[in-house]
Amino acid sequence: MKLLSRVVLACLLFGCFLVGMGALEMFGPALFPQPVRDETPGALLDEVFTKAGFLYGPQSWRPGYDPIGISPGKEVAEGDAWYLMFIDLNTTPVSGNPNVKQLGSVRIRYNFTELSGRAAFHVYGLTTGTTATRTNRQIGTKNCGFMVTGTAPEGGVMPAATPLTFPSSHQYRITLSNSLFSDTDNLTAGTCSFRFIQPGAGQGALHLTPNLSQPMGGITETTDQGGIFYVTATGANAGNNLILLAAVDRPQPDGFALRVRSEFVRTT
């Protein structure tokens, strides 16, 4: 068989392969229905957190390669005493090439009850391998954050909170506040790991925005005790799960509650 005939034969095989893959893409959604991740249609997380959910603090910083400030757009302020709660949102924004991925953002609905002082939201994207944990940029261009201010009177102590230790390895083991002690046999809470490789690594991949038409967001300050904001992603790797950091700047009253609902919103 001549070389040209062999090339033609190989091209025919490629053609068959591509037709097969094209058919798989066309009929794949019918053949392999997407698994349902949550019993509640739409919401991937719907949970109410009380002041007992603030497991970390009082402290002036949030996790990063170096400590990052908590008040949106501000550096670490030594006098601040924030209390931190980490919430697994059970979803993540998807960014990248719209021809090969279904891109989307995460919509977060929040409702505060008896919020005292300021509450700041930040996000972390969990990654695998050697990739740094993602987070929203705190300082500089394209920084973002979301802050809510409440008028309830200040509460007493925050019973569950202890300050987070800054690790020299820049790797954090974080206890999540979702369904604390859901493993009733062993009384263990869910945990996750943040891993930062170098200064600034991972910042700027995730963004908080009240409006999807401005995906980079910026800093939002509001007094609305209930509302919506979105977590968007840019870059190739937004992480494989999203952790919401909710921080309050003072002890909260006993009636404090924060309801968080997360949903994945397709943008392509």
Partner: protein, 181 residues
């Protein structure tokens, strides 16, 4: 008693090992911001095809795949770790088959295109199979698989053409000959 002749000579082993190492070096050094699946095939099929095209023995590509798979595993190029071996072995094995199909005339750009495209597609298929094996729902894997197949074919094929041109230049320069390495 006559000494047993090894299947690969010492300089063939050295050449194939260097080609295997070159794949890992290229993968580590080059990072094209194309965001297109399979685009790395444009450079990582080149050492395999050049190695197979020079040595011209069955198993040369598989040997290159084994070396690059071991190195990729040790250097942790991605999250697949030990499974990298399977990906690189598939790539090398398929280029071996392409070499046999074209009687090691891989200096022909058409043959190079087929070899490169087949190698890059083999890598893609094994990658998807591993993801399925590791528990990623098929619903997510099939999203965009048709377009990914086309891009893998095109970039792998282009890498194969580059390799063919390299082999042709080496032939013209007299560094290698058509019948023997």
């Amino acid at each position: 008693m006559a000494a047993r002749t090894p299947y690969f000579s010492l300089h063939e082993i050295a050449l194939l090992s260097l080609c295997g190492a070159l794949i890992v070096v290229l993968n580590t050094t080059f990072s094209l911001p194309l965001k297109i699946p399979g685009h790395s095939g444009i450079y990582w099929v080149v050492p395999v095809i050049v190695g197979v095209g020079i040595v011209k023995k069955p198993g040369a590509g598989t040997y290159i795949g084994l070396i690059s798979g071991i190195l990729a595993t040790f250097f942790g190029l991605n999250t697949l770790h030990l499974f990298n071996l399977l990906i690189y072995l598939a790539l090398g094995g398929v280029v071996d088959l392409a070499g046999l199909l074209f009687l090691y005339r891989l200096d022909n750009p058409a043959a190079g295109f087929v070899a490169g495209a087949a190698g890059n597609l083999a890598k893609m298929v094994v990658n998807y199979l591993l993801q399925t094996f590791l528990g990623i729902p098929a619903a997510f894997i099939v999203i965009g698989i048709g377009i990914a197949s086309v891009t893998h074919l095109v970039f792998g094929g282009l890498g194969g053409v580059i390799a063919a041109l390299v082999l042709r230049s080496l032939l013209k320069a007299g560094v290698i000959t058509r019948d023997r390495a």
